[in-house]
């Protein structure tokens, strides 16, 4: 097609029409590289070859200690020191004990529902210890160790499970849907993965603050990673250069669905580079590895580059108190995992080697924690619920007219039928 380049003479016409094949290739490769492929090196190939991802090696699993808890490369030791190490261990074990007590209490009908964190104490505390207190955390539901590390009081866990008048969540949600503004832990919600794009938005807002020193760390599971919101979040985080860490707890199961039925690619880490995320896969039961990886991820995120960490671990417990996992996996599988790779055991061996812990201390500590947990639990159980008017609060910033009317309608109903309702479980109006 002949273009008439006005006022530019024939040279231009000739160069456009008769540009060499090389010129044309160079032009396209430059355009593709710069505009389509994020400045990655672009090249043509004449070899017809489909990439078969099943033949590719998986992203390697970063670790610091072996299965017995011994350092492999001493240079990777983060050198916690005694105080921090003991605090890490105490947090993991306190979580474990609290989980056992609360799980049993649900079985006894004392709380309505519970989810345990068995086997994941390492990925919680390892990552939490690597974050700063001002970093904002979004969770899924199985990250109690993160909240516990940050200092959320034992009593508050209990109050939330009971949804009583001391629950800072005001009794609105099922157990384990914790949240704490003070501890920069956004309240959990049941829909999976919705927290991911939200976390990206918060990270973007932080980025805009002068001298920003906050990252956002958002936790999610292997199953949650299948939701569309994950794709949305990864893409937004990378294109908008957000200071965010995506922390995936790949524990092998989404309720009964094993990872072999959840995805066909190289896990969640395998997706990272596809979105332009800095990516690492770690041994989630190796607390040191989780810590180191999160620390490095935080450093990178603060340069406004999004990072994804996939922590490989195993869900030792049932999905929740509504689940009996023997229906889809053998007791032997669970037992073997617990025997061959428990995050608490691996870390404990380090403590013992250092002489910072002993079997005697273990006995004392277990007793101490049990007593504390049971006391907090007992107190929470005795605490009344908030007055039922609380049910109308917080829909909007102010109570709308329609809810004032509906509240009055409920009051009128209770005046006549009150004895059919658990009014005495609630506080009275003062």
């Amino acid at each position: 097609m002949l273009h008439i380049a006005k006022g530019r003479g024939l040279a231009r016409i000739f160069s456009r029409r008769f540009a060499t094949a090389q010129d044309r290739d160079d032009f396209r490769l430059q355009e593709y590289s710069q505009k389509y492929l994020g400045y990655r090196k672009a090249a043509f190939t004449e070899k017809l070859e489909l990439i078969d991802s099943s033949k590719m090696a998986a992203v390697p699993i970063y670790r610091v200690t072996d299965g017995l808890g011994n350092f492999i490369d001493e240079s990777q030791d983060p050198n916690f020191g005694k105080e921090k190490s003991v605090r890490i261990y105490e947090t993991m074990t306190q979580l474990n004990i609290m989980d056992r007590i609360l799980y049993d209490s649900q079985r006894q009908g004392r709380i309505s529902f519970y989810m345990t964190n068995f086997g994941e104490e390492g990925n919680h505390v390892g990552s939490a210890a690597a974050l700063e207190s001002q970093d904002l955390v979004y969770g899924q539901y199985r990250e109690v160790g993160v909240l516990m590390w940050r200092g959320f009081p034992l009593e508050q866990f209990m109050h939330q499970c009971y949804g009583n008048s001391m629950d800072i969540g005001k009794g609105k949600q099922m157990p384990v849907h914790y949240g704490s503004k003070e501890h920069n832990f956004v309240t959990i919600s049941s829909p999976l993965t919705t927290q991911l794009p939200q976390a990206v938005g918060s990270a973007y807002a932080f980025k805009r603050q002068p001298n920003n020193d906050r990252v956002v760390c958002v936790y999610f599971g292997d199953g949650a990673a299948s939701e569309g919101d994950a794709h949305a979040a990864f893409n937004f985080a990378a294109t908008l250069d957000c200071p965010i860490i995506f922390f995936c707890r790949n524990n092998g199961y989404a309720i009964s669905t094993p990872t072999s039925e959840q995805y066909a690619g190289d896990g969640i880490a395998g997706k990272g580079p596809g979105y332009g995320l800095h990516t690492i896969r770690v041994d989630g039961n190796d607390l040191f590895a989780v810590y180191n990886a999160t620390r490095e991820a935080r450093r990178v995120a603060l340069t406004n580059k999004a990072v994804i960490i996939e922590a490989m671990t195993y869900r030792l417990g049932h999905h929740s108190t509504s689940d009996d996992s023997t229906a889809y996996r053998s007791a032997e599988e669970v037992q073997t995992w617990g025997d061959k790779d428990h995050p608490i055991e691996r870390f404990k061996s380090y403590l013992l080697r250092k002489g910072w812990w002993s079997d005697e201390r273990e006995k004392e500590w277990q007793k101490e924690v049990r007593t504390k947990v049971l006391k907090a639990f007992g107190d929470a159980e005795k605490t009344k619920l908030a007055h039922y008017h609380e049910l109308f609060e917080g829909v909007y910033d102010e109570l709308p007219i329609i809810l004032k009317k509906q509240r009055a309608e409920l009051d009128e109903h209770l005046a006549e039928y009150g004895d059919r309702y658990p009014i005495d479980r609630c506080l009275k109006k003062d």
Binding site: Q173, G201, A232, D397
Partner: protein, 364 residues
């Protein structure tokens, strides 16, 4: 430019224009009350929205605007000039993903910054539905007030445009009014768009602001240039009357005004037309007072009749005003079909359908 007055034209021209390009209504400008500001300038609805966002961003350094194609000015030009004025960190394109836009917007708001999230067509708001109804609407309630996303405003285009068919014409408001915790607002003209949008942005609750796209260019009037807000949850009586009350919102208000005028001329019936403005939480009291006066109510909206917001108004009003009613509450709405392309003139609740509704209501 309104091409509706084809009655004045010769037969053949009338026929041609009636086929394509003619809007189904005439925009009726409103004079803004003095308290919104003395200085005014002519703006269309698109410019009014642009102006509102400009003011919002000038007065709130945390405010950011994002969505598909907003950086160059937007497919409807509502964000024209804003990126140049406020910078690309405040006005930027997101990837093409409504669930991402909504979720991201919530997170911005949770972090304490003002988020103006644009959804290019209301017809495409559904991927964001989970984020909006399960998350945004419930954020404050479920956390006992520890966290909230009140600084989120979602803007989406809305309503019939003449040729939009199924996916460029929808009025999805009723999908959201069933969810407590979000506010839903629809302006009928430029002044309302500016004042209501500023209110939504500054309101401490997540809000969805639907912008009638057919009014972007077609609706122009003198709009106060200053910073003013129109209160949410307040309906406005746009035309006073004593025989029949019509409640409507958005573009349809103008259809109803025309039907009211016809009813006066041809039937001697005095019709009161109310613009609901905020669909949720709605100004029930204002409607009740009107119906107690007239005894007759018609609700009119473009969205399909079944489970449209007219159904809620009808139920509430018959509850509140049963003994005042002289006729059943009528609803003149889109048919219960997806929004068709070539049959749009038959689908819409036109001036003639609303007029007929008035006639039937007074003759009940």
């Amino acid at each position: 430019m309104a091409l509706r007055n084809i009655a004045l034209l010769g037969g053949r021209t009338r026929g041609v224009l009636a086929k394509r390009g003619a809007a189904h209504f005439n925009f009726q400008p409103t004079e803004a009350p003095k308290e919104y500001g003395e200085e005014r300038t002519k703006m269309n609805l698109c410019q009014a929205v642009n102006n509102a966002m400009d003011i919002a961003m000038a007065t709130d350094p945390s405010a950011i605007l994002f969505g598909e194609d907003v950086a160059f000015g937007g497919v409807f030009r509502c964000s024209l000039g804003l990126k140049d004025k406020y910078g690309s960190d405040r006005v930027f394109n997101t990837p093409l993903c409504e669930q991402g836009i909504a979720g991201f917007g919530i997170g911005v708001a949770v972090a304490g910054s003002t988020a103006i999230a644009e959804i290019q067509f209301g017809d495409y708001i559904f991927p964001a539905y989970d984020q909006l109804v399960n998350e945004a609407a419930k954020y404050r309630y479920r956390s006992g007030g520890l966290f909230e996303c009140g600084k989120l405003t979602v803007r989406a285009t809305w309503g019939a445009v003449g040729h939009g068919a199924l996916y460029h014409s929808q009025s999805p408001e009723a999908n959201f009014t069933h969810t407590p915790g979000i506010k839903v607002v629809v302006p009928r003209g430029p002044t309302q768009a500016k004042g209501l949008l500023l209110s939504c942005i500054r309101d401490d609750n997540p809000a969805i602001f639907f912008e009638p796209k057919i009014l972007y260019r077609l609706a122009a009037e003198e709009v106060p240039t200053g910073d003013f807000m129109i209160p949410l949850s307040k309906a406005e009586t746009v035309r006073s009357g004593k025989d029949v009350t019509i409640v409507s919102w958005g573009t349809q208000v103008h259809v109803c005004l025309e039907a009211a005028q016809l009813a006066q001329e041809k039937l001697g019936v005095s019709v009161e037309v109310i613009d609901l403005q905020t669909i949720q939480p709605w100004d029930e009291e204002h409607i009740v007072q009107s119906v107690k006066k007239t005894g007759r109510l018609i609700v009119s909206h473009e969205a399909p009749k079944t489970s449209g917001f007219g159904a809620e108004i009808a139920a509430a009003i018959q509850e509140r005003c049963f003994l005042h009613l002289e006729s059943p509450v009528a609803r003149s709405c889109g048919w219960d079909t997806p929004f068709p392309h070539v049959y749009e003139p038959f689908y819409l609740p036109t001036v003639w359908r609303v007029f007929d509704s008035i006639k039937k209501t007074v003759n009940f």
